[in-house]
Symmetry: C2
Subunit: 494 residues, 2 copies
Amino acid sequence: MRNILDELVKRNHSVTVLVSEASPSVDYNNSRHATKFNFLVYKVPFSKSYLHGLTEELINFSMFEWHHSSMLKKILWSHDWTTRSIDVLMRQCDSMFKDEQLMATLRDSKFDAVLLDPVTICGDLVADILNLPLIISLRLSLGGVIERHCGHAPAPPSYVPAAPLPYSDHMTFVERLINTVTYVSLSAMTDMFWRLRLDKYYTEVKGSPTSYCGTLGKADLWFIRTFWDIETPRPIPPNFKHVGGLHCKPANQLPADMEEFVQSSGDAGVVVVSFGSMVTNFTTETADVIAVALGQIPQKVIWKYKGNKPKTLMSNTRLYDWIPQNDLLGHPRTRAFVTHGGTNGLYEAVYHAVPMVGIPLFADQPDNIARLSRRGAAVVLDLNTMTSDMLRQALHDVINQPGYKSSIQHLSNVHRDQPVAPLSTAAFWVEFVMRHGGAPHLRLASHELNWFQYHSLDVAAALLVVLMITGALCWAGIRCFLLRCRRGRREKND
Amino acid sequence: MRNILDELVKRNHSVTVLVSEASPSVDYNNSRHATKFNFLVYKVPFSKSYLHGLTEELINFSMFEWHHSSMLKKILWSHDWTTRSIDVLMRQCDSMFKDEQLMATLRDSKFDAVLLDPVTICGDLVADILNLPLIISLRLSLGGVIERHCGHAPAPPSYVPAAPLPYSDHMTFVERLINTVTYVSLSAMTDMFWRLRLDKYYTEVKGSPTSYCGTLGKADLWFIRTFWDIETPRPIPPNFKHVGGLHCKPANQLPADMEEFVQSSGDAGVVVVSFGSMVTNFTTETADVIAVALGQIPQKVIWKYKGNKPKTLMSNTRLYDWIPQNDLLGHPRTRAFVTHGGTNGLYEAVYHAVPMVGIPLFADQPDNIARLSRRGAAVVLDLNTMTSDMLRQALHDVINQPGYKSSIQHLSNVHRDQPVAPLSTAAFWVEFVMRHGGAPHLRLASHELNWFQYHSLDVAAALLVVLMITGALCWAGIRCFLLRCRRGRREKND
């Protein structure tokens, strides 16, 4: 999202960021940001640390408890966590909509378009209330429910795996069965949840019957932050634009000390290790498993890690609180990337053609890494069963077996070979919406149908009735004919 | 198609055109062409005039007999004409495949890709036999059967009208009913026809079980020669590229005498009249109706017409055998375009923002013109009931009522506002396929499924069985429980 906003500012547009004071991701006090964007910050009755705590809870449960929890516990925990998250999001919405000065400012500002990620709610309702064109930027939703139900993007269960399943588009019968059941149950659950919680709230705020999905469905454009090099090819509505990898760019110069360390690796090169910005530390045992493996390879290692320094850490490995990941992955000495499989890092590795060792933690990460592994560009390890030896061997393989490099190079070639770069595509379409006040020519008319019209159920019913009447008439005709025949024969016999 | 080939030559590619000596559309003797393209011409056992006659027959029946023919006659005629056309196409294929020298040349030429319009058959089979990437360029097929069945592009009958129906994407219940029946019957008819005729032939040539649709379905890319400004928005596979209007370009200078005539129109301006290249003359009555109307308007008129000069023709109207249509439509003095509604002219009019009077003759023309009429950019007239007065009035309206001009101007703005121009898009993707030997990352995996897997019928059946067994077990359990209860009560009573 930041990348699109930066690009819009670069193109001389004025960008206003609407954000709650408790936002854990938007640093509205940063002076460098304040000169670029206008911030509209509204008060909320909870703190940044409360939101942060919710995220921590999700990560901890997903990483450490999910595997050995019963299905019942998983469901109960998910329900509880989701309920609390939605509650806090609704309180955030309330604070926004009840802030009359804020709403007046929004109304008076005469914006050209609203850009949002549906990871939070209500942004679409703001666009709707202000009667502004809406652009959605989305990585994915669980089971693709938002894309399918609200964006009307088809996802045939026979060849498009549902979002959390690490299947390819060539599924076995059993996989297709599980996939279909996953789609149906996730659809039903989410739909019920939307109806019971969000639709009620949206209707309350708007003052007329309004649905969450219907409001999202008004979007003029959907930016999907994946691309066909990794994403499963599927039919998409014309207003879906796949812009995966829009944040990738050629590498900049590294900080001097880091560059020196990288250069010291010589021909052996460097391995970059990062588990993303959300996971900050591991258990001592896990950290040791990783540190020992890294200590055994001939490469120098740059590991983004905020936890305590493992005692087993060797001199070839340096820990950093933060790394310029894109610049490191684009460095000519970089040989491999150890990653949790978050989309951002993954696209950077594809862009710079760096083979990977994936250690997925939760969410879409197992699926992401599985996609690269199937394409021969990554080795997957399981954090819970991984040994130092396995990690060392995996790194040895992706660095020394030429297949991994050539596979990722092919993906990189395909990814870079687009008529317009993803970031320019996104910026073009934002500007298009601003120029024309929307993009109705790209929007499916299905959004104006209700569900039984959309699925042609009324037509099917009508055809069935016609068929039954025709059948009945034919049957009556044949019966009449037979009766007459019989009577004729009887009369003849008489 | 020519436009793509020209662009490829401009980009320094070598283009070979494989054509039968009887081709009515490719002028392989033209020296201007011969310097640009390599022609591979093969002999066929029929003449150019025979092929031309088939087209003439189609036009004459569609224009003059279709309206007052019974459904039975229409079906019989269509069946007869299609059978003869397919026969001649198969004879053409035979001549090609049995020309061993030709096939050897094709094999030895080591082409990078095959580009074809499925208006004829066998080109896909050539690509398949030579094991070359295939690119399809298509305007549309009847009922979208080729796009739907062979390209796996979804077309939900609830909001995507079937190709010959002039419906919008907002259909009434009855329209949706007719649309669904049209889809189903066209699908069934075409599918049967393919199975009985083409699949047998393809299997024969290939020497192993091969289907027409399956061979087309191997295509890496599909260029669809429409765009969302006019086309109904619908979900598309990632390997479908909409390149409608790729032939449109800024106007060139007109020939001197024509420019002089156009300039002589003054502020009143010019009206351009063309019924395309296929229809060359009308009945005397029709020609008179048109000539009289054109004679009554204050504009000068340029009419592309090869028939006898109507006696009623006035001095403001000039007849031409051929006109530089794109240059005329792009001329600042041009006020309106009288057209039969062929896609090419229509996109030129959209590109240059010229409002239209549409007099559709047959095929997709009524639908094309209806789309522009619904968008307020054209008036539609019926050739069979049209009077001079109606045509005069229609021209007066589109020229003098500002709504028509502003509507077509809006369409033109949207059409021109694309990140990459349609011709560049087409050329880019041809070159992409040449660079990478195909574009498998854009192709749906559904092509590898058979029809019941594709529609998840096996999964549905399995789920149904599971559901039934579960139901039976539940019922057995309840029954057992009730029996035991009853027995318990009886024992108690005893």
